[in-house]
């Protein structure tokens, strides 16, 4: 049960002028599962290593329950980090790998055996204790790495890209396992990923870091509905950005005048809406006529490139809805006001 806070955490690597991480402040409540999301090189792994004590911050602080931990050695912080490539010790059996942390704490051999057995059951690998890591599949290695971390009952668990090395079907299995273990043990968990899908699927809250700076820290759905700025929206797959003027209730732009949802900002801004929120068919509200420039069939959906006047609009639709429209011909579309969001 540990509340983690990062206060203006900054890291400038020797010989570099640009900080790899620039004044990151985050509050991670007890028992929550938080994602640090960002492209590679954005400073998220650096953040993890500073929390784990494997790197020293240039400035700023890390506190657990309001107590700074920066002076504590890595082995005394109660933070365990699970690396992306698992890093199981290749010369040890699975059971010895899992029991490693207890052995380092000089726990009794019989006690270690008992708890390793429990852990193997927990991660659903009851019969594999005697195997070598090289004899396991990627998914199994991931479970062993997780078991090896959880057996020491860490205050804070750090996961580096926990799902990215797994096949699609294993991802959901592992997601469920991580979530259920994390909830059961109530461990404050932080994981880093470059994959927005992984972040959304796994985390309670997501912190998006771009170029070493925190861009937005929110529940996952907010990133899709109300992104903080264009960079955030683009990172989450946003493609439609239309400059114009907001009156608070309507938006004037090259697309004409569009009705806005309540509480929209006023003044100069950029209108954004997600491709999947562009609806096919005519409507009284925010109805437009577009020319179909291109269409790409993707199986469960169809991607459309539309042109309204001189403005390009990207849309994703159900293949059934767009069956008859031909490239070069007109398509009636509308943009529901609640799907619109104005960026400053």
């Amino acid at each position: 049960m540990t509340h983690v806070s990062l206060k203006d955490l900054t890291k400038v690597y020797p010989g570099s002028k640009v900080p790899s991480l620039d004044r990151l402040s985050l509050e991670i409540p007890t028992g929550e599962l938080t994602a640090l999301l960002g492209p590679s090189g954005c400073g998220k792994t650096t953040t993890m290593k500073m929390i784990a004590g494997l790197l020293t911050p240039t400035s700023g602080d890390v506190t657990f329950d309001d107590r700074s931990i920066l002076r504590e050695k890595p082995e005394h912080r109660g933070v365990v980090m699970v690396f992306q490539n698992y890093l199981l010790f290749p010369y040890m059996s699975v059971a010895d790998n899992i029991g490693f942390g207890l052995k380092m704490r000089k726990v009794d051999k019989s006690e270690i055996d008992r708890r390793v057995g429990e852990m193997l059951d927990l991660v659903k690998l009851p019969d594999l204790g005697k195997r070598r890591p090289s004899e396991l599949s990627g998914g199994q290695q991931q479970r062993v790495a997780l078991a090896r971390a959880l057996i020491v009952q860490p205050k804070v668990l750090l996961l580096d890209e926990p799902l990215s090395n797994l096949d699609a079907h294993l991802r959901f299995e592992m997601r469920d396992l991580i979530r259920s273990l994390q909830q059961e043990m109530g461990i404050t968990t932080i994981f880093v990923t470059h994959d927005q899908e992984e972040a959304v699927v796994l985390a309670d809250k997501v912190a998006l870091i771009l170029d070493g700076r925190l861009c937005q820290y929110d529940h996952a759905d907010v990133f899709y509905k109300r992104p903080a700025n264009e960079a955030v929206a683009r990172f989450f797959g946003g493609q439609n950005f239309i400059p114009g003027q907001s009156s608070g209730t309507a938006f004037d732009s090259a697309l004409g005048q569009l009705a806005l949802p309540q509480n929209a900002i006023t003044g100069k801004g950029t209108l954004t809406f997600r491709p999947e929120n562009v609806k096919i068919g005519p409507s009284q509200t925010n109805g437009l006529t577009a020319i179909l420039e291109d269409r790409i069939y993707l199986g469960t959906q169809t991607r459309l490139r539309l042109r309204v006047g001189e403005t390009m609009v990207e849309a994703i639709a159900n293949p059934d809805e767009v069956g008859d429209f031909e490239v070069g011909g007109p398509v009636p579309i509308h943009l529901p006001p609640q799907a619109l969001w104005v960026l400053q």
């Binding site: 290593k49 004590g53 494997l54 890595p74 933070v79 980090m81 490693f100 942390g101 380092m104 020491v152």
Partner: protein, 285 residues
């Protein structure tokens, strides 16, 4: 052409050299050690030479000295090489230069190094003279005997000087390939610095360390020139003893020399076997 044949043909030149030169030499040596030399009329093989070898006290003293030289040199070089590799894998200013200096004596021949040691450490060498000059000892002859001494300190010094960079370079490459993440994992699981080294890094670099140190062991066990230059006269290291027998004016001593050479070969094989076993058991369990 089948793969097997292809592999055989590709290996043929190396195999020929090994079989003809190495096995051939060993075969002739074995024959002579058994007093079998048809050219001079000896056609009834016997074990007389081996009996002479195994009943002489000098042989056992020489064996102990040789074992002491190889074990001490190998262990010391390995420990120092690990330390050096641990330092050199870090990032620091001037690392490239230090690394270069560290590897420099890989290029210096053993013989040259041995003569250097002789000049520096013998009782008439530079250090003895300096120590006498600065009044630390009353005359150079009082300088502790580090060369031609019964503990073979000069020999071990020379081997360590030469072999630390050899093992170190292999370990450094090994460590750089591994990175530091395994140790980070160990630290975050609760291992302190020493535990992370002992239980994670050491076992991981162990295969490299073992092959490098076995080479050092085998070399120091069977090498002639360094103990010949820096070693005590009695007991002499085994290879020195064998060579002395071989060049004895008495031709009768030749089978004995050969017997000794064969015994050295067998002993070093046995020692390597034991060394590998013992270190495997202790490092990786």
């Amino acid at each position: 052409m089948s793969d097997r044949l292809k592999i055989f043909l590709l290996l043929a030149p190396a195999l020929t050299a090994i079989i003809v030169l190495f096995m051939g030499g060993l075969g002739i040596g074995l024959a002579r050690s058994l007093n079998y030399m048809p050219v001079i009329g000896l056609v009834d093989p016997n074990f007389d030479a081996y009996v002479t070898v195994f009943t002489s006290q000098e042989f056992y003293l020489s064996f102990l000295l040789t074992l002491h030289i190889s074990v001490t040199s190998t262990v010391l070089s390995s420990i120092l090489a690990i330390g050096a590799a641990l330092l050199l894998r870090r990032q620091f200013i001037g690392r490239a230069i230090i690394n270069f200096l560290f590897q420099l004596n890989l290029t210096v021949p053993h013989l040259v190094g041995a003569i250097g040691i002789l000049y520096l450490f013998s009782q008439s060498g530079s250090f003895a003279r300096l120590a006498a000059e600065w009044g630390m000892i009353s005359r150079p002859g009082d300088f502790p005997a580090l060369v031609f001494d019964p503990y073979a300190i000069g020999i071990i010094l020379q081997y360590v000087w030469k072999e630390v960079p050899f093992i170190g370079v292999i370990l450094l490459a090994n460590m750089q390939a591994l990175g530091e993440d395994y140790e980070s994992v160990a630290r975050s699981l609760g291992a302190n610095r020493w535990q992370a080294f002992r239980h994670v890094l050491l076992p991981l670099i162990f295969p490299g360390l073992l092959s490098a140190s076995v080479m050092v062991f085998a070399f120091t066990f069977g090498a002639y020139e360094i103990p010949a230059i820096l070693g005590p006269n009695y007991p002499a290291a085994l290879p020195v003893l064998a060579y002395r027998k071989y060049t004895d004016v008495d031709l009768e001593a030749r089978p004995e020399a050969m017997a000794m050479a064969i015994v050295i070969a067998l002993l070093s094989a046995l020692m390597i076997f034991l060394y590998v076993r013992i270190s495997r058991r202790n490092i990786r369990s």
